[in-house]
Assembly symmetry: C2
Homo-oligomer: 287 residues x 2
């Protein structure tokens, strides 16, 4: 292969793609056509409509990662079991169509990932560390040992926040939510002090009823509580002192505050940059 | 007062009432008319329709407890702050209509209860203990010190189970669920071992994807995990060795298993029996 290729991040909610010519990104697209949103079209039809036109007559390689490789996607690509080296991941791509490849996800006895493995390949080059924290709907804490992904754990932090705000008594009847550092920090300290969560979640409801927490700040308090609990529980379980954060800027900022309070040093790279570098590395390794 | 009275347990989802004559229960009713379900009728109208006919010409006293005393109910009755003696609760009833009283709920700095205080008054007579565990949508762990409710904590265990099974990725696309002791016990051990929950919840999803957990047993595994985490976290926080369980039989059985595995001795009384005895005590104290 050379510097001409297409990188595709195809997750549950979105399809995002980048066209590279001679190693330079010359075009990109983003569509709300994640695999969980496809009702009228198959992934192959979406591919034909949005990606194939970039390929012209010349069949340049396409590398795809994310839920497109799940049972809800184009084809179920088996997970690679940890421990696994990053070289092995790139060497076991699944060819779903001529020169169209899906990166396999990873599994441990207790967790699975699809898409993050590609960010990880990039992150290990851009910001090497023994532990990567990838905040999100399902946050991942990934351990590296001697160049291999030795294991990882998933925290449902983002999904729990969504559930509690949208479907539970905690979120019932709340006004529009506002950013509020003080509420976030109060929740954060609660979560760091009591990572069990069990006894703390209901405080969001009680504080509101008792008037201690302004109704428009419940989301911030809860975000702090959940992130604090995640950082306290995971850093204790993994005994880490230094991590690299991989994700979007706003979310990473929240985790940076939590990590600092827990005395864990952190550096940070953008999730998109990590993904792009990951695909680039896979392409390079195949050349 | 004497042995003629009406006891009303009026919660979020149901209205239940019992008519007593000469200390004997001679009639009862249950309607799906909890305060959160009243759209067309006010609580007063429901009262007039279902309870008032029992009173005839003679205005026998009615004692009500539960969410009927909340801002979503008939009238917001202020919470009594802990520590509080059970005598104080019965002495501070709120008269919402002639001879119609609402039992006040209790609050701490971090939690609130309405309805459980009445079960508690009964439970303290039927099965005295220093700690009461009241399993449910919002489980309560109540501490007693020298005859007073010194404090209590709420665990959102039941609500979390409902949220995760009905609105999260964990429950998505599951078949009808079946009772399964093995799955419950596996989850229970996980929760007892890792009360942080954060890193364990996602196992429900991963195990299913990886084929380790039969899809029809996810609810049981999750019930075990959440109850195990609650019992581990709360018993550690409160340093208890013996508790009285107050609740319905099926739920108490699950908690009994969890408590036994955590080396906590337990006795048990039915929630309804505790409630009846609680109202009876309030009536007796007022005579």
């Amino acid at each position: 292969m050379n510097g001409n290729y297409i990188a595709v991040d195809w997750g549950s909610t979105h399809l995002r793609a980048w066209l590279y010519r001679d190693g330079q990104c010359v075009d990109s697209l983003q569509q709300p056509l994640g695999v969980s949103r496809l009702t009228e079209q198959t992934p192959r039809q979406v591919f034909e409509k949005y990606i194939q036109p970039w390929r012209d007559a010349q069949d340049i390689p396409v590398i795809m990662a994310g839920m497109i490789g799940s049972d809800a996607g184009w084809h179920t690509v088996p997970y690679l079991p940890c421990p696994v080296t990053l070289h092995e991941i790139g060497a076991q791509l699944f060819e779903i169509a001529p020169q169209v490849w899906i990166v396999p996800g990873l599994k441990t006895a207790h967790s699975v990932m699809r898409g993050e493995e590609t960010q990880l390949i990039g992150a290990m080059q851009l910001a090497p560390a023994d532990c990567y924290v990838m905040p999100g709907t399902h946050s991942k804490w990934v351990q590296i040992y001697e160049g291999s992904v030795s294991g990882f754990t998933t925290a449902m932090t983002g999904e729990l926040h969504h559930l509690l705000m949208n479907h539970s008594l905690i979120g019932k009847g709340l006004p529009e939510q506002h950013d509020n550092d003080a509420a976030f920090n109060t929740g954060l300290q609660s979560g760091l002090d009591s990572p069990s969560l069990v006894s703390r979640l209901f405080e969001a409801r009680a504080s509101r009823v008792l008037g201690d927490l302004p109704p428009e700040c419940v989301g911030e308090w809860l975000s702090g509580l959940l992130i604090g609990a995640e950082v306290a529980a995971m850093s204790h379980e993994l005994a880490v002192k230094h991590v690299t954060l991989v994700g979007n800027e706003l979310l990473c900022r929240r985790y940076r505050q939590a990590l600092a309070k827990a005395n864990i040093a952190s550096q940070e790279i953008a999730g998109d940059a990590a993904f792009q570098q990951g695909i680039r590395s896979i392409i390079d390794a195949r050349s």
